[in-house]
Amino acid sequence: MTADTPVISTRDLSKQFGDYVAVDHLSLDVRAGEIFVILGGSGCGKTTLLRMLAGLEQPDTGRIFIDGRDVTDTPPYERPVNMMFQSYALFPHMSVSDNVAYGLRKEGLPRATIRDRVREMLGLVKLEGLEGRKPGQLSGGQRQRVALARALVKRPRVLLLDEPLAALDKKLREHTQFELSNLQDQLGVSFVVVTHDQEEAMTLASRIAVMDQGRFVQVGSPQEVYEYPATRFVAEFVGSTTLFAGIVRESGPEGVVIVCEGIESALPGPPSAALQAGASALIAVRPEKIQLSKERPEAAAGRVILQGIVQDLAYYGGRSVYRVRLPGGQMVSVSAQNRIRAAERTLEWDEAVFLSWARESAVVLQG
């Protein structure tokens, strides 16, 4: 095993349930010490993929490797990976410490070792004093930590987490996100996390894989996935975005120019080698990349300026989201920080506004 052997990897993995293709010829590599987050909507196959990694589901085709060793036919109880279940799956008839000790007992370790490691682990997840409680007597957050301790105490090569934060309320979720990252940092175990929550994915991940219909559509750092979505699906699924559809008029090293129906001026975008003149294309712009103003901003090279009418606005406290209607009927989402108090807010419904953004902050996609 060399230093850059992935801890867990799959080659050409597929799983079908009847007519429904859950995982479609999928290959992935998870490196040592990273948090690899699989992000996708419900039914995209992400949980099936995780269950195949754990050995709880047999793939139809393809192989799974852990530290370079083929484990495809290894049953779950012999794989050096552990899983934290979405429901936590705490054994209701066992105390907290018995739950955590379960995996070590199955390894046949000496009693004293088990006791020490359980104590150490419970200390790490801050559950001292609750050893004797039954799962039914714990709060949601405590249960989550027992499940985490139980999966980590066996020192797995990879920890698989199925929607680890979904059952927690919002406040606790934010706090636990940071705790999870810290714990992972301390222990150096690789995490594979499955989630449908893009915010959770963004904060946890070293790398995100966006999954759709059994395939990875894009794999990259959170920044890459957010700032440079590879497809229309990623652009729409991760964060919100406004898409302008049109035909490429020019494509060169300094950028592309796209003509969109209903918009007078052609829209420029960053260069794209894949798009030739005449091809259909999309320009995607994130709401926070757009500036709103009552007066027409000064024209500058590479700056896009459009005019529209505020159709709708939603106040979120820290920021507001405006939906602006262009003359051609297209709706554009714009998000603005509320740096001044709302009472002094100047933009109102039905007001004419100018939208502007830098050419480089837009993304050009194949249509």
């Binding site: 036919d73 290894t74 049953p75 109880y77 012999e78």
Partner: protein, 296 residues
């Protein structure tokens, strides 16, 4: 090595879990029906076993439909089938009428009293069925509790014939199977969200309308389950008509039992059983399957 061992272990475990009961039921439940069918096509003889083999010593097949001709031709068997269906159906309806208000009251009782009331419904079910029928014999007999009470009150001058008639059979069936009606009804009524009733009241429904529009329709699965749970065992009932019924109480379970034990005509009894299976049991199973496998 450990690899294949592991997967084989899982496979073996699954095979044992499903295979063992399947095997048992195939041998002791499914195979016997084939034998019933087979013997219903044989001739009765005096001997052990008291029927002719289908394939005789010369190897030729010997089938007879005489037994079926007898089952359909004899008005006694026809009367028994119809009597069973009538008594079972009517007794199920009586159970529903008696049991619904009981289940309703129990479901509306606050805990922990609800558990107690429920246990009181189940308690007779755990004690011997035969002895409970016997208890009614003590109630209904000429010198039984009813007649004694009525005579003492002076409401009657001579003891009434309460036993050895259809009335006693209905009473016995309702008494025995009432818990089977109350329990599923209770289960659906207890699960009903009280918000639904409050929402209906809020929208202007009177208590009676709330019952008719919300409670009753939502308890339909329980009603059907209860009716089936009473009807099915009642159709094949043997003990109750034998102990409480009159000589003219015709029920098919009793006819079959007597044909087998009294007349020792095994082939005819098998034919009676086959017809009962096809006419009553099979439709019930198909009906239950049609309801999406809902079980008691």
């Amino acid at each position: 090595m450990s690899r294949s061992q592991g997967v084989n272990g899982q496979r073996l475990f699954r095979a044992v879990t499903s295979g063992l009961p399947t095997l048992w039921l195939c041998v002791f439940f499914l195979a016997p029906f084939a034998l019933v069918l087979k013997i219903s096509l044989a001739d009765p003889v005096i001997g052990q076993p008291p029927f002719t083999p289908l394939i005789d010593a010369t190897g030729s097949l010997h089938l007879t439909f005489d037994n079926y001709r007898l089952v359909f031709g004899d008005s006694l068997f026809l009367a028994s089938y119809l009597g069973s269906l009538r008594i079972a159906a009517l007794a199920s309806l009586i159970c529903l009428l008696v049991g619904y208000p009981m289940a309703y009251a129990i479901a509306r009782t606050p805990q922990p009293w609800r558990t107690l009331l429920l246990l009181l419904v189940m308690l007779p079910f755990w004690s011997s069925f035969l002895l409970r029928i016997y208890a009614w014999m003590g109630m209904l007999s000429t010198h039984g509790a009813f007649n004694t009470a009525l005579l003492t009150l002076g409401w009657i001058e001579r003891p009434l014939a309460l036993m050895y008639n259809d009335f006693a059979v209905y009473l016995g069936i309702v008494y025995t199977y009432l818990p089977f009606m109350v329990l599923p009804l209770y289960a659906v009524l207890e699960k009903q969200d009280p918000d639904l009733r409050e929402a209906a009241e809020d929208l202007g429904a009177t208590p009676w309308r709330v019952f008719m529009d919300i409670t009753l329709p939502l308890s339909l699965p329980g009603i059907i389950a209860g009716l089936m749970l009473v009807f099915i065992p009642a159709v094949g009932e043997y003990v109750i008509p034998t102990l409480l019924g009159g000589l003219d109480t015709r029920m098919i379970g009793r006819a079959l039992f007597d044909e087998f034990f009294v007349n020792r005509d095994w082939p005819l009894a098998s034919a009676v059983a086959t017809v009962l299976l096809l006419v009553v049991v099979l439709p019930v199973m198909i009906f239950q399957r049609g309801r999406g496998g809902a079980h008691p």
